[in-house]
C-alpha cells in the first residue's frame, strides 16, 4: 500500500488549523464564561463575540451529525441551539462545565431531538461492534488536503461513519474537545470514546486508501 502525500496550497490553510493551542483554549474557556455573563448582564456585543468564536464549530458538528442530505435541518438546529444558549445563559455554571462542552451538549440535544422526531434509529452499540470488524490498513500520512475534491471525499467519508464514531471524531478532531469533555457530553466512558475515535480513524483511513487506490 503506497503512502499518499498530499500537497495543499498555503493560501487555503489558515494558520489556526495547523495546530491546536491548548493553553489558549484554557484562556478561551474563562473568557467564554465572562462573555456569557456579560450577555446576561445586557452587553449586546458579548453574545456576538461568543457566537463568532464558536458558530462554525457548532454548525459543522450539527451538519456532520445530520449529513449532507439534511443541510436545511442543520441550519434550523444551529439557530435553535444558539437561541437556547441565549435563553439559558443565566444558568450556565463555569464550575461544572466549560462553555464549549455546554454548547455541544445543547447542540447534541437538538440533533437527538431531531432524530427522534424523524424516527432515526441510533444503533450505537451495533455500529461500534461493526467497526471492530474493520481491519486497520497501514497508516496513511495525509498531511494536507490538496483539493476541494479530496476535501469533499474526506467529509463524505466522515459522514459515512457510524453516528457515535462520527460524533466522537468531529468533536475531537474539529472541535478540539478532550476525551473527558466528549465523555461528559455524550455520557459514554472515556475508554469507549477512545475506542470510537480509534475505530473512526481506522475506517477513515481505509475509506480514503480505497479511494486513492481506485484513482491510482
Amino acid at each position: 500500500m503506497c503512502p499518499i502525500r498530499l500537497a495543499i496550497p498555503e493560501a487555503h490553510v489558515p494558520s489556526r488549523v495547523q495546530s491546536l493551542d491548548l493553553a489558549a483554549m484554557g484562556a478561551e474557556t474563562s473568557e467564554d464564561a465572562d462573555l456569557l455573563r456579560a450577555h446576561v448582564a445586557g452587553d449586546p456585543h458579548a453574545f456576538e463575540r461568543l457566537y463568532d468564536r464558536y458558530d462554525r464549530r457548532c454548525f459543522l458538528y450539527i451538519r456532520r451529525l445530520l449529513g449532507q442530505a439534511r443541510g436545511d435541518a442543520a441550519e434550523d438546529l444551529h439557530q435553535e441551539t444558539w437561541i437556547s444558549i441565549s435563553r439559558n445563559a443565566g444558568g450556565f455554571d463555569p464550575n461544572r462545565a466549560s462553555f464549549r462542552a455546554w454548547m455541544y451538549t445543547a447542540a447534541r440535544n437538538k440533533v437527538w431531538d431531531h432524530f427522534r422526531r424523524q424516527k432515526v434509529a441510533i444503533l450505537t452499540s451495533v455500529q461500534d461492534s461493526a467497526a471492530i470488524m474493520v481491519a486497520d490498513p497501514a497508516p496513511t500520512p495525509l498531511e494536507a488536503v490538496e483539493s476541494r475534491e479530496l476535501a469533499l471525499k474526506i467529509v463524505a467519508a466522515v459522514e459515512a461513519l457510524p453516528l457515535a464514531q462520527r460524533e466522537t471524531f468531529v468533536m475531537f478532531a474539529q472541535a478540539g474537545l478532550s476525551l473527558e469533555e466528549i465523555s461528559n457530553i455524550t455520557g459514554a466512558g472515556v475508554e469507549t470514546i477512545k475506542s470510537r475515535l480509534r475505530y473512526a480513524r481506522t475506517a477513515l483511513r481505509q475509506a480514503l486508501t480505497t479511494e486513492r487506490s481506485a484513482h491510482a
Binding site: R56, N109, T140, L142, F169, Q174, L208
Partner: protein, 320 residues
C-alpha cells in the same frame, strides 16, 4: 492521558476549512444574532447541566406529570357517573328480583342522585354530609353499581342494564332501619373506596372479598340463554378481567363487541381501564372501536393514553 492528534484529524480539519462557505456563514450569522436579539433574555434561568437536556429539566417533567395526573384524577372523579369497579364483579343472574325494583324506583330521582354522588365521596360519610342527611332515616343505602339514571334513559341505552343485581343496587328497605351506623358506614365505605380507585379498581376488584353476590357461571348456564345485554355484560366483565377464552367464546356467540353499558363504556374500555393489553388487542382484532366515546365523552384511545402503560399502548396501536 491526552489523546494525540492524528494526521487524519488534521486532514479532516483542513478539509472543513476548504469547504467553508463564508457567504452562507455571514447570512447565518445575521439571521441567528437577529433572532437572539429578539429573544427575551432569561436572567434567572435554571442551571443547565452538561448532562441534562436543556429543553426539559426535571422540574418540568414533574410539573407536567403532576398536571397530567391531576387531570386524569379529576376526569375520573368528576365525569364518571357510576363506580366502575363494581361492574367488574362476577356476572349477576340475568334477572334481578322483582322485589327490589319497586323499592328502588320508589326513591325520588333527586334523592337517588344524591345517594350516588355521596357514595363516590368517602370523606363525606364521616362528616355526615348534607346529602345523606336529606335521605329519610328509614332508608338503607348499599353500594350502587349503575348510576341512578331515569328508567327510560337507561332502557334506551341498554335495556337490561337498567336492572342490576340486587347486591349492587340501591335498596331502600325498612328492615335495616335499626342497624347501627357503624355497620352501615363500613358497608358504604366499601363501595366508595372501590369507586375512588378509578381505573385500577377493575384489576383489584377480582382479588377483593366480594360481598355475597351469586357468582353465576358465565357460560353454559341460564345466563347464556338470557338477553344479549347480559352476554354483553359478561363480555365487559371478561374483558376487565383479562379472560381471553371467555372473550373469544362470547364474541363467537355473536355478542356485539362494542355494546356499551349505561355509562357508554365498552368492553374495550373496560380492558383498557383494567390494563389488560391482551384483552384489548383481542377486542380490537374483533373490530372494537378505539374512538367510541363513553357518556363522559372519553374514548378508549384517550383512556389508553391516560393509563400510560407502554404495553397497552402498543396493544391498541398507539405506539409501534
Amino acid at each position: 492521558m491526552p489523546e494525540h492528534r492524528d494526521p487524519i484529524d488534521r486532514a479532516y480539519t483542513q478539509a472543513e476549512e476548504l469547504l467553508d462557505d463564508s457567504n452562507s456563514r455571514a447570512a447565518r450569522r445575521s439571521r441567528i444574532l437577529g433572532a437572539v436579539a429578539q429573544e427575551p433574555l432569561a436572567h434567572t434561568a435554571p442551571n443547565l447541566s452538561s448532562h441534562r437536556r436543556p429543553a426539559w429539566r426535571r422540574g418540568d417533567w414533574l410539573a407536567a406529570a403532576s398536571i397530567a395526573g391531576l387531570g386524569v384524577f379529576l376526569a375520573t372523579r368528576v365525569y364518571q357517573s357510576a363506580p366502575q369497579p363494581l361492574r367488574t364483579m362476577p356476572t349477576p343472574p340475568p334477572f334481578a328480583p322483582a322485589a327490589s325494583e319497586p323499592a328502588r324506583t320508589s326513591l325520588p330521582p333527586a334523592a337517588a342522585k344524591t345517594i350516588s354522588r355521596a357514595g363516590r365521596a368517602p370523606t363525606l360519610k364521616s362528616a355526615a354530609p348534607a346529602p345523606l342527611a336529606a335521605i329519610p332515616p328509614s332508608l338503607d343505602i348499599r353500594p350502587v353499581a349503575s348510576p341512578p339514571m331515569p328508567a327510560p334513559m337507561a332502557a334506551r341505552a341498554f335495556p337490561a342494564e337498567a336492572s342490576p343485581p340486587p347486591s349492587q343496587q340501591v335498596i331502600v328497605t325498612a328492615e335495616r332501619r335499626a342497624s347501627p351506623p357503624a355497620a352501615g358506614k363500613s358497608e358504604f365505605t366499601g363501595g366508595t373506596q372501590d369507586d375512588s380507585l378509578g381505573a385500577l379498581g377493575s384489576a383489584l376488584m377480582a382479588k377483593k372479598p366480594a360481598p355475597p353476590p351469586p357468582a353465576a357461571p358465565l357460560l353454559g348456564s341460564e345466563a347464556d340463554a338470557g338477553s344479549p345485554s347480559v352476554q354483553a355484560g359478561n363480555l365487559r366483565a371478561a374483558s376487565a378481567g383479562g379472560r381471553l377464552s371467555e372473550i373469544e367464546t362470547l364474541l363467537a356467540l355473536g355478542v356485539p363487541v362494542d355494546a356499551p353499558d349505561v355509562d357508554g363504556e365498552t368492553a374495550l374500555m373496560k380492558s383498557i381501564r383494567a390494563d389488560e393489553p391482551a384483552a384489548a388487542a383481542l377486542l380490537l382484532r374483533h373490530g372494537a372501536r378505539l374512538d367510541q366515546r363513553n357518556r363522559a365523552g372519553m374514548s378508549a384511545r384517550q383512556m389508553a393514553t391516560a393509563v400510560g402503560d407502554p404495553a397497552l399502548e402498543r396493544a391498541v396501536g398507539l405506539k409501534p
